[in-house]
Structure formats: structure tokens, C-alpha cells
């Protein structure tokens, strides 16, 4: 990783610290700055309220010319998060072809938080969950809350 990229990651971390998002905590290891560990609380207005989610943001060597990779380490019932051991989230600005080098990590964190509040079923990775969300919202809410209790407490 180039010094420019390292400099940028450091600066972005400082920015996230100066302007913290509510319910988001970043564990930053200076020895391994390309892997951020995020602890995000389920937003209060969402079905995930009360859950604590562990995420990872990995910066590729080509950062900022390739997007960071976001994965949920805590299981979550969400149409935009893959329901497997990877827990990957890849949509919107996180897509390699849509990523813009000037984008910042803080906007990635905003995106994740907003998706917890309002999932995007039209750009889903888990089609059955998306279908659930669109057609049977009550059932979706119930399962999501159930998963919060089961995995995210």
C-alpha cells in the first residue's frame, strides 16, 4: 500500500473521530490500518434497535481507487447483507464500478446506517429476505427482531 493511501486512511480515521456517528465505534489498529473494526448499534428507529453489530471494513491495496470491503461479522436479517459467514454488503457506492476515489469512509458508514434504518430491497443480495420485506413486512420485522435477540445482543 502506498504512503498516499496510508496517509489518506489515517486522515479519514481522524475525521471519523472528530465527527462521530451516533452509535458507531471504530477500533483502529495503527499496525494494521487497512482493517477497521466497527461496532455499530442498531439505530433506534429501526427493527435492529437494541442490537450490537460487529462489522469489518477492509481497505484494498488499491484504495482509494477501489472501494473498501464491508462485511458484517454479526448475523443480521437484512436484504442487503449476505446471509452467510461472510456477511458481505455490496451495493451503491460500495460497488467497484460505482465507487469514486473521492468518496470517504464516513459516507460508507452513513450508507450502512441508513440501510439499517431503511433496507433497499430493490438492490438486494438476499432475494428471499427482500421479498419478505416487500410483501410481508410484519413477518420480516418479526424475524429481524428475533435475529437481533438471538445473535446481536
Amino acid at each position: 500500500m502506498s504512503t498516499g493511501a496510508k496517509k489518506r486512511i489515517l486522515r479519514e480515521y481522524a475525521e471519523c473521530q472528530n465527527d462521530p456517528l451516533p452509535g458507531v465505534k471504530i477500533n483502529f489498529d495503527e499496525q494494521n490500518m487497512t482493517k477497521w473494526e466497527i461496532l455499530m448499534d442498531g439505530p433506534d428507529q429501526s427493527v435492529y434497535a437494541g442490537g450490537h453489530y460487529k462489522l469489518e471494513i477492509n481497505f484494498p491495496n488499491e484504495y482509494p481507487f477501489k472501494p473498501p470491503v464491508v462485511s458484517f461479522k454479526t448475523k443480521i436479517y437484512h436484504p442487503n447483507v449476505s446471509n452467510d459467514d461472510k456477511g458481505s454488503m455490496c451495493l451503491g457506492l460500495l460497488r467497484p464500478e460505482e465507487w469514486k476515489p473521492p468518496n470517504k469512509v464516513i459516507s460508507v458508514l452513513h450508507l450502512i446506517r441508513n440501510l439499517l434504518i431503511e433496507p433497499n430491497p430493490d438492490d438486494a443480495i438476499e432475494l428471499s429476505i427482500a421479498n419478505d420485506y416487500k410483501t410481508n413486512r410484519a413477518e420480516f420485522d418479526k424475524t429481524a427482531k428475533d435475529w437481533v435477540k438471538r445473535y446481536a445482543k
Binding site: E62, F65, K66, E98, W99, P101, P102
Partner: protein, 478 residues
Amino acid sequence: MAHDDELAQMQRLSNDYVPEDTGPLVGERQSTTELTAEYANGDPIYRTKTAALPRKYAFYRRCRGDGHCGWRAIAFSYFETLIRVADVGKLDVEQVRLKSMQNLLNAAGHSDDIVGDFAEETFGLMQELAILMTTPNSDPCEHLLRNFNDYSRSMAIVTHFKLLASAWIQAHPDDYLPFVLDYPDLKSYCEENFERAVCEIDHVGVAALSEAVVKPAGFALEVLYLDRSPGDEINHTYRAEPLAQEGFPITNPPTLRLLYRPGHYDVLYRAEDFPVVIPPQAPIQVALVGQTGRYDPGAIAAPIHDYSDLLLSIPGAKMWEAQPTYDFNLNPSPPPQVVPVSSYAPVPTPAPPPAEPIHDFVPPPHAPQVNSHPAPRHHSIQLEQPVALPVHPPPPMSLERGLPMTIERTEPFRPSAYTLEPGFGANQMHALPFQTSIFRNSHYNTAHFLNPDFQPEEWSPGAEYATSNRGRHKSASQ
């Protein structure tokens, strides 16, 4: 139905096709004859066009087809042209100018701190080049190439240029809005087509970049298309001319050239873009000059002299001087030591004649060819099929070079050198009253009554003997 399936399958393959993403981000400069070779077995239109290419555009540089080739090609040749104009002050001016465009970037919503990262690399490279250009024995071009092959630096500069183009477009909505269909506004168009990490340059991007970066620097930008459109040559499809401050076009501006093949951009050069590089190439030029100087211009070697001049005018040959490391020699085998195959009883040759550069397309600088002087028939044999023989040490030329000529002259009845090679021993030829029937019957003939210097033909024994010389010549050769 099967047809539809096939089409769908092909469409799918074509959609999934990812162009080869290997090789350097920006390659070494190479001869366009390689393109000719690349398409030699291809489509006839490509074949014709690439065959004509080296005549006008001697070199090109491959850019990696990773979706940034167009942006990178323009950025690279912008820097390279800055080096080529060899004006350190210009680099400073450009640095200040690009820095002043930060306002434009801010207006388009790009904050200093993020764009600064990318711009820093552009300015850093400019400063390094400026230092190298004032340092003797340094190679700014090499530095540029190395830096453009450093992924993060190259991408930072490309991103900076992309953002500049995007900001430029958003600052000039009237000029660009008409070209932007299918998008609600310029901003979303720019975000999608310019700012994304992976987006190939489109024609609006080329135009914007040339307006924002290339033209204000006093450079022109030319895009030449190599595609299947009918024609014998690649066609100009885009040219941006810089304007001086008074609004007049600048004459002969330094020009950035791109070679466009559908979906891909490379950098293209004319041979004269690199005049500076030739002088240091001592070995080859010295050899050529030395050879031309070695011959007595008035003597039989006159055509040889012409040949070597001709060689210099072949773009390929020039390029060879400029870039001795490239093996562009059309004849890939080692410089042959050519000895003609005798088609008749060997002529007693007094000594190995000196080297002559005529017969080989590109003369090897130091290995002389053993060449048959007396019989022009040998020439044709050599051209068609050089026969390689063991290498002999070069003959001591200074001592021997006169020899073959004098021998030629002392044997006037030796067959063909005079008759078959144009200009060979031209002086003697003029002395002969050489007449065609057309000339004889025209008024240019002084024996014709319409000639102003009319002089009726008279029988003279001297003339009779002179003409009979020709007859003797013939009979001797049979």
C-alpha cells in the same frame, strides 16, 4: 430459435468480456510497424490502414486496457509533451494554472482535502520532472514512464485529471449540456461518467479534458481512429487547437496524439516528435556518414550515396537510430555476411571488395557485407535470398576501396555494370550517340529540318566507329 439462442449466448459472452488487463500501465514507445504486424493476418481494412500507419506515425505506446486507458493516455502525453517542449518555466506555469483550478473543483463539490491527495501527485511529479530537466545526464522521460507505471501515483494523477474534466464540464454547462442526454443534470452525468473509479473516457470526456488541461497549456490534441470504416489510412476524428491569448490559433503547437481503436486508446507519435533524441545515437549515424564519405561522389558510388540518404528518410530507419534497443529490424536474422551465389564461372576478384550498405534494408553498423562488384546480376540474387556465410573480418577498406573501381574501368567490355545499373558510369554513356527512332524523327534532333539548329546528317567515319562501340559491347557480353 437456435439462432436467437446463439445470439443471446454471444451477447452474454460479449457482455462478460473483460479486455486483457495485463502489461504495463503505460508501455515503452515502440514502432508502429508492430501494429502492422499485429494486423497482418487480420481484416483487410485494418491491414491497409496499419500498413500505411508507420509512414506518418512512426511510434506508439500501448496503454493498459483497464478502463482508464484514455484518461491515462492523455495525462501521460500531457506530461510527456511538457518534457518535450523542454521549458522548465512552462512546468511551473502549468503547476500554478492547475492549482488555480482548485476553485473549479470546489465549486463542483470536491473538497480540498480529498482532491488534494490526487493533485499532490500531479504537482509532485511536475516538480520532480522540473528538477530532472535541469539536471544534466538525467532522463525525465524515464522517470515519467516509471511513475506512470506506479499504480497509486498513476491512478492519483488520472483521478485528478478526471475530476478536473468533471469540474470543467459543470462550470461550462452551456457547452456540454446539449451532449448529455439521458441524465437529469450535468452533475449526475459527471458522477457516473467521470468520477467513478472505473469509467472509460467518452468523447465528452476527451473534449472536456482537452479544454480544461491540454489546450490552455498551448498544446493540441488529436485523436486518430483505427476502425473498420472504409479508407486507406486511419482517420482524424478529433482535433483540439489551442488558442493564443489574442484568440488566434497557435501555429504548429506541440501535439498530443491518441490512437483510438474501438474501446481502447493508445498514445501515438509522429517521427518528428522526437528530433532531439537522434544526436546522441552516435554509432549508427557515424557509420552511415562514414560510409557515404568514403566514396568518391563522382565515381561509381554515386547511387550508393543516394541509397543511404534514402535510408535516413525511411521512418523506420530513423526510429532505429532513436531507439537502438528496439529490434525493429525488418530482417530479424543477424546481419548476414552475404556472398553472392555465382550463376556463372567465378570472376577473378582481386580482393574482397569493401562493404556497401545498399543491399540490406537496414545496414548493420559494423559488419560489412562481402559484395560482388562486377556483376549486377548478383544484385537481384542478393535482394531475394541472402546467403549467410561465416563472418570474415572486415577488409581494410582504406587501402582497397579504390581498387574495384579502377578494375572496372580498365575492363570496359565487362558486361553489365554500365548498361544495367542506371547512372553507372553515366559519363561514358553520354558520350555515346545513343538515339531512339522517336528522338531521331523528332524536331529535337538537330538532323530534323524543324530543329532551329538544323544540321543535316552527314556521314562521318568517326561517328561510325563510335556507334560501333556499342555493337562490340554487345557481342562481348554474349
